[in-house]
């Protein structure tokens, strides 16, 4: 990245991860299946990207049973919200003249 340009968080910048964070920002929590359906991704890819977001501390995961069905719920953490807000600010700066 040339000097003076804001850095884009690589964890947020990934296309699927960005889509997932954008989905999660509007809901309190979301189920794995819902996120998969909304993004059109595969189970494997979604699981891998959610793990990256979880490792970065941007999402929190909760596993529970809904009746007999196992359910994996994801929730955006305050760190995730902050990361997304910072990413948007950097994106705006890049688009408004820096590029």
């Amino acid at each position: 990245m040339p000097e003076g340009l804001p850095e884009l968080d690589p964890v947020v910048h990934g296309k699927l991860r960005l889509a997932l964070l954008s989905l999660l920002v509007g809901v309190e929590e979301a189920d794995f299946t819902w996120l998969r359906d909304k993004t059109g991704s595969t189970d494997g890819n979604l699981g891998a990207q959610m793990l990256k977001l979880e490792e970065a501390g941007y999402v929190a995961v909760q596993k529970r049973f809904s009746g007999r069905k196992p359910q994996t719920l994801y929730r955006m953490t305050p760190a995730g919200r902050k990361a997304l807000a910072t990413y948007v600010a950097s994106l705006k700066r890049l688009l408004n003249g820096a590029l």
Partner: protein, 208 residues
């Protein structure tokens, strides 16, 4: 959808694409109302069914209670199914909108029941006007929450109808109600459903 490396420096069209993706996904997560499009259509059709029953079928006194209870039963069954599914519809906006519509639905039910029991239901224009204003109120509150002009237009239709019934005959007030139901419920619901489908199709295209 796959990740791709960030060019150094990032390309402008990549960044614009990211913004579009975020907007689409945020809208998908937040615009909970469009998932409820079918409910508006259903209620609009139930209003038509209730009025048709009142006019053409025996036991007209049961028309509204049966149609309203049928609508409530369908929604409760849907909510029960939703709870067992994976849809995250518990966001603050979704809860606010559910609260508005639930409260208005309850108010209309109580109002209609009280009017029927006290035999004031025969004062049709005033009863129609109250229901029209109640429904306009729910649409307006949803429109404010969602900042959605289409729903504000639906609210204007219901409120306009509510005003109009005071200036027309009793039989014409039924027509006003039917017109408002068509534009403010059925057509609005179909529009919401169309938006929902279009958004889903766009998302699939973008992420393929």
């Amino acid at each position: 959808m796959t990740d791709f490396d960030t060019p150094n420096p990032p390309r402008r069209d990549d960044l614009v694409q990211r913004i579009e993706l975020m907007e689409a996904m945020i809208a998908e997560g937040r615009r909970a109302t469009t998932r409820f499009g079918w409910i508006f259509v259903m209620w609009g059709l139930l209003y038509y069914a209730a009025i048709a029953w009142e006019v053409y079928l025996p036991a007209p006194a049961f028309a509204w209670p049966v149609c309203i209870l049928l609508g409530i039963a369908i929604i409760q069954a849907w909510r029960w199914r939703l709870k067992r599914s994976s849809l995250p519809d518990d966001g603050p906006r979704s809860r606010s909108i559910s609260a508005v519509w639930g409260s208005v639905g309850g108010a209309i039910t109580l109002f209609m029941a009280a009017a029927a029991i006290s035999h004031h239901i025969a004062q049709q224009p005033a009863v129609n006007a109250a229901v029209l204003f109640f429904l306009g109120l729910a649409h307006a509150a949803s429109a404010f929450i969602l900042r959605w002009p289409a729903q504000a237009a639906a609210a204007a239709i219901w409120w306009g109808g509510g005003i109009a019934v005071f200036f027309v005959s009793a039989s014409a007030s039924v027509v006003v109600f039917l017109v408002a139901s068509f534009f403010g419920m059925i057509l609005f619901g179909l529009y919401a459903m169309m938006l929902e489908r279009r958004r889903a199709a766009t998302l699939v295209q973008n992420h393929a």
